[in-house]
Symmetry: C2
Subunit: 577 residues, 2 copies
């Protein structure tokens, strides 16, 4: 009775100790301490605790005691399907081997071979039929038999431990997923802060490289001319080596993906006949495995008359060679797909924006260019005034938002001339008073042009329309059309006034030859505070010193140099009707 009493009390003590351990110990320390408790509970000589790794289907040793070189066993990895261990895990029940011949197929028993072994007990840690790990105990007391109560105790401890492992696994997996999703959400949220395509692609690819833990990622965009896929961005280890590559239409795994819109993951490309070897041959990179997803931009509802931009596959994204050596997990694939689809959407948005933005810029260039050509002496005037105004605005430290508005509005400053008859605009002799009066109405005509075409409602012109109406006003109130003075004239009006006169002075005119930039600056400075805003004049002087201001003649010289500038050439053939 005393013996039983003691065993019972020890039993309770061991279980309470296990509770205490579980409640207070971090998982990495828990393994050693639980193993210790289990081995001592049944008075075994040695023990090994290993966890099951689902990906590789092996057992990994976490703790070992009582064995020669126990520490060296930690992190050792072995089969979970062979020998005694395999049998125990398969059956999901503990196996007791008394006086057994060593099973050399069993790697954990083999590891214990330095010990003069007598008995072994293999306790699988299982939850809901799923293997979590294994506890091996070696050289149990001879008194112990398969149905000893001590074995019931170690089984209870094993079950407690399995429960703890499961909890830790659930928690770790949940945290990992949450971290990934959080990272993904941050990337996706951040994508929309740029409509600059290459900036965008760079961002996505370097983040994808980290998040997927792969050697390299790349983005290939469809070339609308030939349907080839052209490398646009590469991130990761082959970044420098892989440039300007091109996969012919329909070739390669990526060609397949772009043609079908399906994701393809190939864990050994050497066995895939679709693999296009030329890129590796060119770059020296060795591709082992590929995850390739389509860049599929969805239908985008644009609103109003613009309608809908249809769904289209604009290219593909690739991730190469996971660094951990394993294949691409379902989780990785889903993540890369989300990233790619989001990237495709934003690339498409950027495309739509840059397209419509280019349309307005070029149409404005065309119309103002045509107006300048109504008077052959003002060829290129609007463009130059716009360039000078932007340079002044930059020197004045205006925001890039505001500078854009100055760019557009200043280019339109003479648009009112569209309403001044050709016979006045093209007249070489001195204008009559009535002709001159009509000429001087062009700032008003310009403002009417904006108003009547609904352009004044647009943000871009809402605070910069004064570029049109005020560019002939003077600080002293002696300008036209309104005779505004001082602070009545807006900053934009003052900027364009300086830019306009600088170009007028430095251009050839019917009544006078072109003067030099220095002469023009001297004139502007002499009139600062009277006609012109001194700060705007000095901003122009500084911009000129930085090489940002080129007169008509300086531009003409560059035009006649071998490298013709396209923007100049574009308009040169145009004459207003």
């Amino acid at each position: 009775m005393f013996l039983r009493e003691t065993r019972f009390q020890r039993f309770v003590q061991v279980m309470q100790r296990a509770d205490q351990l579980v409640a207070t110990t971090a998982l990495e320390d828990l393994f050693g301490q639980m193993l210790d408790l289990m081995v001592s509970a049944i008075e075994a000589e040695a023990g090994v605790l290993s966890l099951y790794d689902e990906d590789t289907q092996t057992l990994v040793v976490q703790a070992a005691i009582g064995l020669p070189g126990a520490q060296r066993l930690i992190a050792a990895r072995g089969s979970a399907s062979q020998g005694l261990t395999g049998a125990a895990l398969r059956q999901g029940t503990a196996l007791f081997v008394a006086n057994a011949l060593w099973d050399h197929q069993d790697w954990i028993s083999s590891a214990a071979v330095a010990l003069p072994l007598r008995t072994a007990y293999c306790l699988p840690l299982v939850s809901q039929g799923r293997p979590l790990g294994c506890v091996h105990a070696f050289n149990l007391p001879d008194t112990l038999s398969e149905d000893s109560e001590e074995l019931a105790l170690i089984n209870l401890l094993g079950s407690r431990l399995a429960n703890e492992i499961e909890k830790a696994q659930i928690l770790a997996q949940a945290r990992r997923r949450e971290r990934r999703q959080q990272a993904l959400l941050e990337i996706v949220s951040h994508l929309t802060t740029t409509l600059d395509r290459d900036e965008l692609l760079n961002r996505i690819m370097s983040r994808a490289c980290e998040l997927l833990n792969v050697e390299a990622t790349s983005i290939w965009l469809r070339d609308p001319e030939h349907d080839d896929l052209v490398l646009h961005i590469a991130a990761g280890s082959n970044r420098e080596r892989i440039v300007a590559q091109r996969v012919p239409a329909g070739r390669g795994i990526i060609g397949h993906v772009v043609a079908t819109g399906e994701t393809v993951a190939v864990n050994d490309v050497s066995r895939d006949p679709r693999f296009y070897r030329q890129i590796d041959a060119n770059s020296g990179f060795v591709t082992r495995s590929i995850l390739c997803v389509p860049l599929k931009a969805p239908r985008i509802q644009l609103g109003d008359a613009r309608g809908i931009a249809e769904e289209r596959i604009i290219g593909g994204a690739q991730a190469l060679n996971p660094r951990d050596g394993a294949g691409f997990a379902a989780e990785d694939i889903a993540l890369f797909e989300t990233l790619a689809s989001q990237a495709a959407t934003v690339i498409r948005l950027a495309q739509l924006y840059s397209e419509v933005s280019a349309l307005s810029t070029r149409i404005i260039d065309a119309i103002t260019g045509a107006i300048d050509l109504k008077d052959s002496y003002t060829r290129g005037h609007s463009q130059r005034v716009s360039d000078f105004s932007v340079a002044i605005a930059q020197e004045l430290g205006l925001s890039s938002d505001k500078i854009y508005r100055v760019r557009i509005a200043s280019k339109l400053h003479d648009v009112g001339k569209i309403r001044v008859p050709d016979r006045i605009l093209k007249k070489r002799r001195r204008l009559t008073d009535s002709e001159f009066a009509q000429m001087r109405r062009h700032p008003e005509y310009g403002l009417e042009f904006l108003k009547e075409n609904g352009l004044l409602e647009l943000e871009v012109l809402r605070d910069s329309w004064t570029a049109l109406s005020q560019h002939h006003e003077r600080l002293d109130g002696r300008g036209y059309p309104k005779g505004l003075s001082g602070d009545q004239i807006s900053l934009v009006g003052r900027i364009v006034a300086v830019a306009d006169v600088f170009d007028a002075i430095t251009s050839r005119r019917p009544y006078q030859p072109a003067r030099s930039a220095d002469e023009a600056i001297a004139i502007l400075r002499s009139l600062a505070g009277i006609e012109f805003d001194g700060e705007c004049v000095e901003a122009l002087v500084r911009a000129r010193a930085k090489g940002l201001i080129h007169t008509q003649e300086e531009r003409a010289e560059r035009e006649h140099a071998p490298k013709r500038r396209r923007s100049v050439r574009r308009r040169s053939a145009w004459m207003a009707g």
Copy 2:
């Protein structure tokens, strides 16, 4: 000894049974079965198992046995801080009360008052110092004392149960978070598929309503004129009642949020002096609690000369009255913030897109309107040809993408006339052969205009430039400038040819009066297959039947009716120079 032996075996059996239950039973069934096991292990008469609810700091009964009306106790809720239960939870240790006077402060003991009570045992379920729940056992055997081994057994079972509850809680929380993050990611990803602002706002708000489980959500945008906040979208229960509301600048909790850029959560608005009561007064909705976050659009990199759109607060988003009655959790706040910041970004993108899109459309309208006015007999011609071409394209079932291109290109079809001298365009008498030859060059001039201004590189014109160069070609090859025939003429060219001639016939001209639409259709039909594409002609006829085609005269009638159409008014004052 026999007794001990039996108890020991029972002990082991009970523990094994607990293991088995944990391994095989779903949580909701586990509570009843574990309670049963625990109560019978110590041979108590009755028991109650309750879980701790962190939000309300109360205990909620999950299972009860042996008590009169046990089932009615399920889901009952009571204090976790008072009486015996409170003491046990605070100390984190079990309390045994033998022959105690009933503590009426203890709600669970009170619930058991119908029982002739003798003893009670209150076992707190605790993990890492955190209360998870409580097991009460009533009327334990008289032989039991505070240090009976049976109590050790129930404590072990309690610890096992606590472990299981913790695991379930971790899992549930992880799943809830994951589901929310997943939902958030889906919403955020989907946002970018529209640049139609109101569509976008509706989407976000209705999803936010679901996700946060609140009675209502709304979006308020800054009115750039007065800085008031104007309600744009409301979702949820007050959707119908709350329209066209306006919060004056700086007023209300939302005014504070928009001014400071800070999130504010107020769980009882009646105590917040900032709360703007007028909206509730107008709508009849009763706001109890508000979560209000700023709509903060980040800096957006636009690329090229367009530069950067600066960060700005464009308004605020509100969520009202969580349905579960609790306040806004940190998790809710973070989620709503993410959603709002993403919405703000996309709203800003939509704004930027619609701004630049409107700029190009209006500039094109202005330039083509001015060209039409060079010849006073073609006023409004370009716009009408564009409208007719779009109607034909729609009838032909072209995609909205393609229709947009037809709209733009057809409006520009006569842009080459900018290069035809006024004296020819405005000439009322018959043109000389050489004048006529120059007039007939306008399709070529138009194509040059596109080329020289870089417009041909744009997607919008890349496949629709033929609207300019081919609108005077004829199917039989007798058109100009190239004399193309049959399939050599693009679909866009054919569409615009039909639209152009329909407008010419139905408009007043120097040499002939306007004819009716029916006459025009008869002429077009008679020339179908010779000069015009028959399908395009029939598409125009169908569009006319649907009321989509209005001649110059029909439009003029509407213009002179009281409701003037703005687009017509806009251009009417313009004359080309």
